[in-house]
Amino acid sequence: MVEILLVPLITAFISDIFIKNKRLVWFLFLISNGYILYKLYSLYGKWDLTYILNTDYQIFGAKLSLGLSNNPLGWYFAFFSAVVTLVIAIFSIGFNTNSKGNVAPIWMLIIFANLGIFYAADWITFFMMWELMGWTSFFAITNGNTKALDGAKYYLALSLLGGSSMLIAILLLGAYTKTFIIITSAYRLIQLFNLAEGVFTTILLLFIMAFFIKSAIFPFYMWPSKVYAVGPEDYIAFMSSVMIKYGIYPMAIFIVPVIGNLQLPKIFNAGNWMQYFIGYLGALSAVVGTLLAMFQTDMKKLFAYSSVANMGYILLGFASMSIVGFEGSLFHVVNHIVLKAAIFLSLAAVVYRTGESEMHKLGGLVYKMPITFLTFLFGIIAAAGIPPLNGFGSKWMIIQALMEKKMVVLVISMVFASTGAFMYLFRALVSIFLGQLPERYKDVKEVPYTMSIPMIIMMGLMLLIGVVPGVVMKPLTIALDALGYKVDIATWTTLSSSFKNATIDLKIVFYMFAMGIVVAALMYLFGNKSETIPQHDNYTAGENPIEWGVDADKFNYSYSFYQPFKEMFDPLFERISIDRFFSSIGKNFEYISPTIQGLYKRGEGAVLLFSIGVLLFILGGWIL
């Protein structure tokens, strides 16, 4: 049990010593991830494994202990992130042969924190791991690159905000429920809620704020676009798929069960205000993320906003507070881990070969990088939620759950976001891979095998989960069953909701699609022969531009792809900007900080600050 945490920690130290030897470090990284996956596989089903380190200390009457437990949901998150991490680790070996920095040791430390978060039994361990993850990811993003500093600082500042609000929430929770154990504190919170409604609501909101910051939900949706654009690409694949789920996991084990069991007055017989609070923030993230993704020119920023939208879907599933929605959300977590990793791996491959991430400067790469193209195509089909790939099942479940609860505004915004997803996903496909190949990329080659094999594995995973959702749903339902939820253990290929006659068999969907392909291919073969000709033969109507004394220009329609549509939204985005709101706060701090700095640089200021501190200390003691 403990060795699962010790192995990444030791690997991090060893690879820190041998940091110059890239081959060795990345090989260690791969081996260590393989071991973690194997170990997690062997932990499946042993839900009562725990490891508690008791201390004699008490805070507010709550006993302080550090503990790990094999929580079924934690296992579910950890296992599927380990699968994807292993695939990314294979990719990293090839990707990092020529890279400048070496992110492996710090990344290993993040994986340690990752497992710690998913396996923490109490809030203190959870918080420690959370903070470790916060500052280590700062170094992983910058990775010796000064250009990345701005984005990373933004991320660090938000992490600190989230961390401090979580610390306050944990201490208040400890003071009122007299325990730091996560499960016990949830039970006590539900029992004691009516005694101190204001305090417990504050605790929940503080927790929610911390989790929302980490998962980039609506008011905090800016950091992915700033961070993903600058970080090392293979690490960003991990960050966008696994790390953005850290906020979702505590939502699933703590916030959702608590809110679901609170006896709060219902609005329109559908849900209590907290449910709507989560739901509307989720809907806003889905819609705003989608709209912003459409108007990006940098492909990594585009998919950063797409992640924001996907986190919104997950919250919408939580907001339904029904078992179908809950399962759908947790299923979507894994689907998003897989498909976002696939997309970012193919983007990393593009950047590896071209060094360019502005979409309108690329184009026509499909002729040079067909495997990367196919991975990306699979990824966007999955991300758009089109069967038979994996994004569909979970979206379907979330929509069913919301419709069943008659949460019409939420379900309409969900459909808006997932239809809008076609727009930005397709725009990326066109701009990067289709159209005409610019002259400067005519020598680009497909990526080496170490990078293409992981991408092929990702394609296989997406198809597997899409056609046989049971590979994820079975462990999920068994885990939920072990936690005491009333669920039916899922079958291999069917998904069901509690509507009448609402069971879909994804195997049949796949067969139907395969048959459609067969019929269409027959039609295609039935037609007369076709001949492949270069684009210019048709494009310039058979004329040779050189003979006319002009250059053969290449036109790609990819810059400001949705210009007319964007103009519709321009007034809105000009008026409302969360980013501007945050930067105005930042500016105010900048004005204040020299004043404060001046205070403690000079002698009298230090005395003043000291006396204020003492005063606050005394006041604090008096109040408590």
Binding site: L434, M512, A520
Partner: protein, 294 residues
């Protein structure tokens, strides 16, 4: 084996009906505009001719995209109950149908973009924008029906309207039907919502580089999409049908309305179209939804 034959039969049937509708539609438009017009079987002749011609392609993505688009729509068609019959018995889930239909659009868009012509890409960008425009009001109408019937199965919604014209959702929810009709006009890409094709501006948009059997496949895709879209409308609002003949007749009624509007209207610019779809049909649909919920 029998399932495969049934699937093949259903596919050919849908293609046949769709092409027949296209031919009749052209004839009707011609008569409205005081022209003689082509014979009603013209679409069959066109497709035959196109498949017989030699054609050009630019790369494998174009071929793949065309096959994907026809395959996507054919597999969607298999989930739409035709007078209660389906090729393979399964739950005809509305959400599944809507999402599955998208793969056809995606394939078509991919083929068009792979042809490398900027006009085609502009057409695709407009088509996707239009998609966001019509999907919202259409889904809102469907949501009302789904909540009213307590099921998201298209087959059950069709069955619930059995027993005479007064039970049809068209009569029970006239506002919803109106909104869905306006959205349908955009779904089918007919005027005033044909900015993505716009022959005068962007040379037929996505179709600009297609010729020979590629254009033929695009014709077939369009035929199947007509069948699917009118089929969904018939099941949602006109109570399905007891036999295939009545079903096709009802489909033709829906198609006729579309054609009549198409024949006399000019074209919206793309942002006007989206604004219109998000205001007029959307507010009608919201009123209908509110009536159902309250």
């Amino acid at each position: 084996m029998i399932a495969a034959i049934r699937v093949f039969g259903y596919s050919l049937f849908a293609i046949f009906i769709g092409l027949l509708f296209m031919g009749i539609g052209r004839k009707i438009i011609a008569r409205i505009q005081l022209r003689l017009g082509p014979p009603f079987y013209q679409a069959f002749l066109d497709v035959g001719k196109l498949f017989a011609r030699k054609s050009i392609t630019h790369n494998f993505v174009m071929d793949l995209g065309m096959i994907m688009s026809l395959a996507g729509l054919l597999s969607t068609m298999l989930f739409v109950p035709v007078a209660g019959h389906m090729a393979i018995k399964t739950s005809s889930n509305l959400i599944l149908i809507i999402y599955l239909m998208a793969i056809g659009h995606l394939g078509m868009a991919m083929a068009a973009a792979a042809s490398g012509n900027p006009n085609a890409t502009i057409g695709v960008s407009r088509a996707l924008t239009m998609m966001l425009g019509y999907e919202i009001p259409f889904f809102t109408v469907m949501l009302g029906l789904i909540i009213f019937n307590g099921t998201s199965s298209l087959e059950l919604i069709a069955q619930s309207q059995a027993g005479g014209i007064l039970n049809w959702n068209m009569v029970k929810f006239p506002l919803g039907f109106l909104a869905a009709e306006i959205a349908l006009q955009a779904i089918m890409g007919e005027k005033p919502f044909d900015a993505m094709v716009a022959p005068a501006e962007i040379a037929s948009g996505p179709m600009v580089e297609l010729g020979g059997k590629y254009l033929g496949l695009a014709f077939l895709t369009h035929a199947v999409s007509i069948f699917v879209e009118t089929g969904i409308m018939v099941n949602l609002f006109m109570g399905g049908a007891s036999n295939v003949f009545t079903f096709v007749l009802k489909q033709f009624e829906i198609y006729l309305i579309t054609i009549l509007i198409e024949a006399v209207f000019p074209r919206f610019r793309i942002e006007q179209a989206v604004k219109f779809l998000w205001t007029v049909p959307m507010s009608i649909a919201v009123v209908q939804l509110a009536i159902i919920l309250l």
